[in-house]
């Protein structure tokens, strides 16, 4: 069947099961948009208001649904506007296929209008990229793109298509890619390593499981619980691992890292064995690596061989998919219990509760604290919502206080720490999982980085709830300035616009809470409303997030105040 390159692209996407595209048209991608016009009944295209919005939306969509997120952008500025999202998806292992238009091939390298070397620019931040200059290549390259994006450790793929390739004809035939000889996404599990790991696990006295996003990406939630329950080993979660385990599970001991819970951080240096599953020992988790896990042997279950021994030396490395590794590991370990050890975590929890949590969630002061807002939302939604956060204090507070109960519910920019992520990611998340409540929790700084996406939410009536925790500060930077830069608040205070007037302008229902007594009712209305809703909560201006492991210090030095 003879079709144009553009039509071949749309047909290829349909072959891959794509039903949603986030994008923004422009000159060099117009033939593709023209082809899309004929397929409107088969594929839903969401027009965002900025390419960065499109890619973060695709990320949110992917992370809640497990599908590959797809976005379109034009050449030049359209393509460069995707880069932040691509880098974010790369470091947080999110499968994306980004399609960018490119100037006609005879103009490549001539500084033509809206030409940028997006292949060169995106090289260090994509899992794979490729420039198509002939329409003949389209089906094969698109099938490769999807295979690479979603297999193994997932990541973003960028395909740049010159305008002439979009226009010219080809005979369309599609075959799904199943193999690339130079690419081996699923390492063969080494049974001996599994046995070595089982031996260490059976001998350990104070073991601890570190749950990373790899558990979610490999759908190993059930196996993880089985492993923890059989071995009796407590589980702590990284930021991106949150929601893999229900926060209510008896073996769940909390959140790791710089603003994580007290117990899992201090116990890192008291445990004798770490079983790290699908996580990469980010510096926000480890603090000073020379003083990390000082008494522990480390078992690392990790699909990406380049992550093994990258930061922390392992005793046993199981280079495999997390689910596959756990399925093989569970029958090899003994049934045990570590009640005494788990109780030590509970004692830490009590200390943290008395020193921090109690004062925050039962705050008697008139000013509203971020923690009490998040806690109320967590209780009201019973931990069942998808929570999308931006970057900063509100993100850390949400990670600490939202009690996730269902997998794939914590959508946040972890590795890259991209402010502006939450609003577009939330709209993408809602489209990816329409049946679930999606709540975006965003600071007053972050929302202004992608605030234009309120228009997208309004146009498509995407029922996301948007909570602004508004302290008129870039709060996390201010906190560091207070603690480590001698209170020199260099350019962190903001005179904000009236977010409610802005929300009115976008025709999104909204409310503002300034007084504590209005908070409960406002949150209830916010949660129960059907449709998009923006709630602007004015919180304490100079609140600090604790506990805190100061940057570059040992996790043992976690500060409670």
């Amino acid at each position: 069947m003879k079709v144009t390159g553009s039509e071949a692209l749309i047909k290829s996407l349909l072959e891959e099961g794509v039903d949603t595209i986030f994008g923004y048209p422009g000159g060099a991608i117009m033939p593709i948009y023209d082809a899309l016009y004929s397929y409107m009944d088969k594929v839903n295209h969401i027009l965002t208001r900025h390419e960065q919005g499109a890619i973060h939306a695709a990320q949110g969509f992917s992370r809640v649904s497990g599908k590959v997120g797809v976005c379109f952008a034009t050449s030049g500025p359209g393509a460069t506007n995707l880069i932040t999202g691509i880098a974010d998806a790369q470091i947080d292992s999110t499968p994306l296929v980004c399609i960018t238009g490119q100037v006609p091939s005879h103009l490549l390298g001539t500084d033509a209008f809206q030409e940028s070397d997006v292949i060169g620019i995106s090289m260090p931040v994509t899992k794979w990229n490729y420039q198509i200059t002939s329409s003949q290549e389209i089906p094969e390259i698109i099938s490769k793109a999807f295979y690479i994006a979603k297999s193994g450790r997932p990541g973003p793929v960028l395909i740049d298509i010159t305008k002439d390739a979009q226009f010219s004809d080809l005979n369309f035939k599609y075959k799904r890619c199943e193999k690339i000889r130079s690419y081996h996404p699923y390492p063969i599990l080494d049974e001996n390593k599994v046995s070595d790991a089982a031996e260490l696990i059976d001998k350990s006295k104070r073991p601890m499981i570190l749950v990373g996003q790899g558990v979610l990406l490999s759908n190993a939630e059930k196996e993880l619980i089985e492993f923890s329950e059989k071995s009796g080993i407590p589980m702590a979660s990284t930021l991106l691992g949150l929601s893999a385990v229900s926060c209510n599970h008896k073996n769940y001991v909390g959140y790791l890292g710089m603003h994580g819970n007290y117990g899992p951080n201090v116990k890192t240096n008291e445990c004798d064995l770490i079983i790290a599953i699908g996580m990469r020992f980010d510096d926000r988790v480890t603090g000073d690596t020379s003083k990390y896990a000082i008494n522990a042997k480390v078992i690392h279950i990790e699909i990406d061989p380049s992550e093994i021994d990258k930061i922390i030396k392992t005793e046993v490395a199981i280079n495999a998919d997390a689910k596959e590794a756990l399925i093989n590991l569970i029958p090899k370990i003994k049934k045990r219990s570590h009640e005494g050890w788990i109780n030590e975590f509970k004692e830490c929890d009590k200390l943290e509760y008395d020193k921090i949590i109690d004062k925050e969630i039962n705050n008697k002061e008139d000013k509203i604290l971020m923690a009490e807002v998040v806690n109320k939302i967590s209780n009201l939604t019973k931990g069942n919502a998808i929570v999308v956060t931006d970057v900063g204090q509100h993100q850390m507070v949400t990670s600490r206080y939202y009690k996730f109960n269902k997998p794939n519910s914590n959508i946040t920019s972890g590795g890259l720490g991209t402010m502006g992520f939450a609003l577009p990611a939330a709209l993408g998340s809602k489209i990816g999982k329409k049946s679930r409540e999606v709540i975006a929790i965003i600071g007053d700084g972050g929302i202004q980085m992608t605030i234009q996406e309120l228009a997208t939410i309004s146009q498509y009536k995407i029922g996301v709830k948007i909570l602004i925790l508004n302290n008129n500060f870039l709060g996390m930077v201010r906190q560091w300035q207070e603690l480590f830069f001698d209170n020199r608040y260099s350019f962190t205070e903001m005179e904000n616009p009236d977010f409610n007037v802005i929300s009115d302008g976008y025709r999104i229902k909204n409310n503002i809470v300034e007084r504590k007594k209005d908070l409960d009712d406002a949150i209830e209305e916010f949660i129960n409303f059907k449709g998009p809703y923006l709630l602007n909560v004015i919180v304490e201006k100079e609140e600090n997030v604790f506990p805190m492991v100061p940057s570059g210090e040992s996790v043992s030095n976690i500060r409670l105040e």
Partner: protein, 196 residues
């Protein structure tokens, strides 16, 4: 050492040594850039680089020489192995490979007129006269960097070196392996899909 897959170092090897990486890749545009940015990101200088075809059609070989600790270079190697179009990256120390570089020396032909001393030097070093022109003469020497440098130093005493160029290292492993068999192994593996 194997190509794709996991490389681990036991203990911590902090000694800086010369390492040769031999990277087999699909013959794709842009790969050189892909590989060099991995070094650049970690601020590691490449001492020598050579890209060439291999005996297998469509397969290229990158030979890269660096000074590094084993720990550092293994992290880089693992990253190179992660590139989609890389078939396999191999790490070698000097005693594990046959390797050569080639150097060309452009000398003023006049210095040959000063008796046979220059000729003796060339003979001593096992170098070869490639071309004699009225103005200049081209000498060619293959060997290790040290050997080509020794010849340079000897010739330099006469002040007649007009231009000098040295190639990147080319190296082949002392192992029995054949590229084609390595590729066959790659194609046989079941690591293309999840086996559960």
């Amino acid at each position: 050492m194997k190509g794709k897959g996991i490389y681990q170092v036991k203990g911590s090897e902090k000694k800086v040594k010369e390492y040769t990486l031999s990277v087999l890749t699909e013959d794709k545009a842009g790969l050189l850039n892909h590989i060099t940015i991995i070094f650049n990101r970690r601020k590691m200088n490449i001492k020598s680089l050579n890209v060439s075809t291999t005996e297998v059609n469509g397969v290229s070989r990158f030979t890269i020489v660096v000074n590094s600790t084993k720990e550092k270079i293994i992290k880089i190697l693992n990253h190179i192995n992660k590139l989609i179009d890389v078939l396999g990256a191999f790490l070698y120390e000097e005693n594990e490979i046959y390797f050569q570089e080639i150097a060309l020396y452009k000398l003023s032909t006049k210095i040959f007129m000063k008796g046979d001393i220059v000729e003796k030097i060339i003979r001593k070093h096992g170098a070869k006269i490639l071309e004699i022109e009225e103005e200049h003469t081209i000498i060619q020497k293959t060997g290790s960097k040290k050997e080509t440098q020794n010849l340079y130093n000897d010739l330099d005493k006469f002040g007649g070196i007009l231009e000098f160029a040295r190639s990147g290292r080319v190296a082949l492993s002392k192992k029995k392996r054949k590229t084609i068999n390595f590729l066959k192994e790659l194609e046989k593996t079941k690591s293309n899909k999840l086996n559960i």
